[in-house]
């Protein structure tokens, strides 16, 4: 019962957070001081097509209906996946625009997140195991230095140096103009080649955090009784490393991982912008620049829900790995 209750509480928390996000999305345009919605509407009037203007009306909450009625209508539309019409990509519906970018972001940011966590945790674990050794001396300060650069700045430097100057990597878009999107080997190869540089900059910028988290978790675990008891029974170092140190340090490390997902995704969004990578971050930039409020709100919702979903997956993973949470 214990773990189910625990998981239930976490899922309840995510459900509540999702509801808060939905409601915030609804309330923000309606509660802003000085009626910016009206001003915006006036600004767009005549510049865009009437159908787009109608979409904007709904998004901005320029309706005479009572707030409660609007809220019910808003939730009903959301339930059908209707997020309005994009202004920048008119007449595409927001849901379709976001759909084109979602896969790329999951591929790039998700991939970089997982690679960075696995690589960083491995380095952190090895550094703590040979405490004061060369890896422990070099890796934490070097990687925290690299981690001090903003993700997108790292991306700018890499794009300029390795992309434009040296020409080693493509620096724009998710795949080359010479290939057709589809399940072909050329397409996959092109997509991987295009993801390499943005992905690598995200990994480099976020690696230090995982190294330190894992190293600190390991140092605590290595001083604990089970390690000394394992030593006293003559267990070989490899067994102690894998089954005593790593497995016990991974749990607190995974908890930090869950909490950092939102932060890393935020950094990934900015990296996409530098590489004109057609994911959520790039769309976010388009929405901000074009004052495309329907798209902006849709992106906010999707990204928030995706991060909450990822958190739920991590929680389930922790419960699966920790017998104390399971039985």
């Amino acid at each position: 019962m214990g773990p189910l209750i625990q998981l239930g509480r976490r899922l309840g928390l995510y459900a509540l957070a999702a509801w808060v996000a939905l409601t915030l999305n609804f309330l923000l345009p309606r509660l802003m001081p000085g009626d910016p919605a009206q001003a915006l509407y006036a600004r767009f009037q005549g510049r865009i097509e009437p159908a787009a203007l109608d979409s904007l009306r709904v998004t901005l909450g320029l309706s005479d209906a009572p707030l409660a009625t609007q809220y019910v209508l808003y939730l009903q539309q959301l339930a059908h996946g209707e997020l309005g019409t994009s202004l920048v990509y008119f007449p595409e519906p927001v849901s379709a625009v976001i759909g084109t970018g979602l896969g790329w972001t999951v591929f790039l940011a998700g991939g970089a997140l997982v690679v960075s966590f696995l690589l960083g945790s491995t380095i952190g674990a090895l550094a703590a195991w040979r405490r004061g050794g060369w890896l422990d001396t070099v890796a934490p300060p070097l990687l925290s230095f690299l981690g001090a650069f903003p993700y997108f700045w790292m991306a700018m430097a890499a794009a300029w140096g390795l992309g434009f100057e040296l020409g080693w990597f493509p620096v724009r878009h998710a795949y080359g103009p010479e290939v057709q999107a589809g399940a072909t080997l050329e397409f996959v190869a092109s997509a991987l080649r295009h993801a390499l540089l943005p992905g690598a900059t995200m990994v480099v910028a976020s690696l230090g955090g995982w190294v330190l988290t894992m190293r600190n978790a390991m140092l605590v675990v290595l001083g604990d009784d089970p390690i000394r008891y394992a030593q006293a029974r003559g267990l070989p170092p490899g067994r102690i490393f894998l089954h005593y140190a790593i497995r016990n340090a991974l749990l607190p490390s995974l908890t930090s991982f869950g909490m950092a997902i939102g932060f890393v995704v935020s950094g990934a969004l900015l990296t996409e912008i530098v590489f004109a990578y057609p994911g959520q971050g790039y769309l976010l930039l388009q929405a901000v620049r074009g004052q495309d409020y329907p798209l902006l709100q849709g992106l906010f919702l999707t990204i928030t829900l995706a991060v909450l979903g990822a958190n739920a997956v991590v929680d389930a993973l922790i419960i699966a790995l920790d017998p104390r949470a399971r039985t």
């Binding site: 808060v20 996000a21 802003m32 195991w129 004061g132 993700y151 700018m156 300029w160 990204i303």
Partner: protein, 294 residues
């Protein structure tokens, strides 16, 4: 600060952190008096560094050195202010939750947890997009998203201090709540709040630069974030004008690295297991035998 610390053992890393942070604080404080108007058109656009313009010119023909130095003042000021506000909100919320307990604690804990799991950037973007751009909007948005972590940490710490014997004794002996908070709890929180302030400032600088890079800052002002925004906007990458973004990026990283090093020093002081005392390992080793000193 450094005089007092030198009596204790400061590591080279901590000294480097102190040096970096004080150096940038000094630049932000007095630097702007030594450079010209950062927004003035002073030379042809995108000139490489030269004797006249040590760090070259931007795509608008402005002096990059002046922009970097003046940007330091804006960015660090907002960073430190927001850092302080964020810690204050977090500490107040966390301490209230821990002290009042019961339904208030339950409600505040839910609010803290919900705010914690919401990804920061999209929330900041969507709020900032609705507000008029400017430093106040920027500070408000940053403060709004930054506090929950500190509230959580402070709540946990206050709960642990509260359960200690001497505080329990004060509560039982009927000392007024405010006295317990001021005399017993706050001094015990001081090092935690110091570490939280460093973390919050780090966050405020990073998030602020990111939002401004997206174009959500005050684009008529000069800050590190707007410098980077204009660098991409003016296609610095395409023409290879590295000097338009490298100085600002190095500054952001320098301050960030310095603050991180100070944060590590505080963490290591609070948690002795993180302190490295000579090389050891791999893993648990047999007790060494060192004969000869008797």
């Amino acid at each position: 600060m450094s005089a007092r610390n030198s009596t204790r053992t400061t590591t080279p890393a901590t000294r480097l952190g102190l040096t970096l942070v004080s150096a940038f604080a000094l630049i932000a404080l007095i630097g702007p008096f030594f450079v010209g108007d950062p927004t003035a058109f002073v030379a042809a656009p995108l000139q490489a560094p030269s004797a006249a313009h040590w760090l070259g010119t931007t795509g608008q023909g402005q002096d990059v050195l002046a922009q970097t130095v003046v940007g330091a003042r804006t960015t660090l000021l907002v960073g430190a202010l927001v850092g302080a506000v964020v810690v204050a909100i977090g500490a107040l919320t966390g301490a209230t939750a821990a002290f009042l307990g019961g339904a208030v604690d339950a409600a505040l804990t839910w609010i803290i947890n919900v705010s914690l799991v919401m990804p920061g950037l999209p929330l900041m973007v969507v709020i900032a997009a609705w507000l008029p751009p400017g430093p106040v909007t920027m500070a408000a948005v940053l403060a709004l998203t930054g506090w929950p972590w500190h509230a959580r940490v402070v709540r946990a710490q206050v709960l642990s201090i509260r359960s200690r014997d001497f505080v329990s004794a004060c509560i039982v002996s009927g000392e007024p709540t405010w006295r317990i908070v001021v005399v017993e709890i706050l001094p015990n929180l001081a090092s935690l709040l110091g570490s939280a302030f460093i973390g919050a400032t780090l966050y405020a600088i990073g998030a602020q630069v990111g939002l401004e890079f997206l174009g959500l800052g005050d684009l008529s002002g000069v800050s590190w974030g707007t410098n980077l925004y204009w660098a991409t906007n003016d296609s610095a990458l395409l023409v290879g004008a590295w000097w338009t973004f490298v100085p600002t990026g190095v500054c952001v990283a320098g301050v960030g690295f310095g603050l991180s090093l100070l944060g590590f020093a505080l963490d290591a002081r609070a948690n002795p297991r993180l302190r490295v005392s000579g090389a050891s390992g791999p893993g648990p080793q047999p007790t060494p035998v060192r004969r000869g000193d008797d």
